[in-house]
């Protein structure tokens, strides 16, 4: 491996350590906001927003998705659409009420 390649990896390592620090801080922030006196909806929104930021950091930098090939991006986009569909299935119980009376 050339010195150039080694330098490239060293730069990556700096990014990994920065992301590690950010994930640690965000974890503590998640716990801290859970003690805030807010409504359940606001608490869910805050917790899931921080979790999504953390997940994006892991997927983007540790899993290299920000520089990954289009084939994988399309595969994951399709999966994400199905995932969202899965998440909205419970909502149908609210939309499609059948009255027994």
């Amino acid at each position: 491996m050339s010195d150039h390649d080694n330098g490239h990896i060293q730069e990556h390592i700096k990014v990994y350590l920065t992301v590690f620090g950010a994930l640690g801080v965000l974890t503590l922030l998640t716990v801290a906001v859970s003690y805030l006196n807010v409504s359940t909806i606001e608490a869910i929104f805050l917790a899931l927003t921080i979790a999504t930021v953390k997940a994006s950091l892991v997927a983007g930098y540790f899993m290299h998705l920000i520089t990954e090939k289009q084939t994988i991006i399309w595969l994951l986009t399709l999966t994400f659409i199905f995932f969202l569909f899965c998440m909205f299935i419970p909502m149908i119980t609210y939309i499609d009420h059948t009255s027994l009376s």
Partner: protein, 199 residues
Amino acid sequence: MQIPYTIEERPDTGLNNSKLGIWVFLASEIMLFGGLFSAYVFLRMAAPVGDFAYWGSKLSIPMATFNTLVLISSSVTVIMSWASLKMKDFEKYKIYMGLTLLCAFIFLIVKYFEYTGKFHHGIYPSSSTFMGIYFTLTGLHMLHIIGGMIVMGYFWLPFGNKMWHSNPEQFTNRIEVAGLYWHFVDLVWIFLFPILYLL
């Protein structure tokens, strides 16, 4: 039989087969956990007001926070083990992979104390809807931790890492693929932690 495109990229996908394979597998894993997350939302919406919060308050936030930090650390060590191989430093690879396995082991020990603590207080999956989905989600996640430990343990031990000496490029790809799986396991926990322990 020689598996094609383990190192070089396939012209049509632009990827080597192992990387495409792990991403297709991870896509199926997203749907597996997606189905269970959907079940969690469904059960929570149908539960009496405050029921999930009541049972959730019986879980230990400090233990789960510690475990979250342990898993995040293991994600860094596993990527450092891959980066070490990229820099042809096999000794550092062994250290970082060993640390990853140690983190995974610590996670399991903490989980053991969490589970036995619940059982000691007479709390089981059958105790409530929340506990049912809690044990299902964390139990499945724990199985993924054990699966990852088996694979990474194999690549750490001498009989599993001897490929480094015969085909270093393919071995590095194997570690990258195992690392992708491990990051996914971390990613799932990032969502499990707030929805089960904090909300």
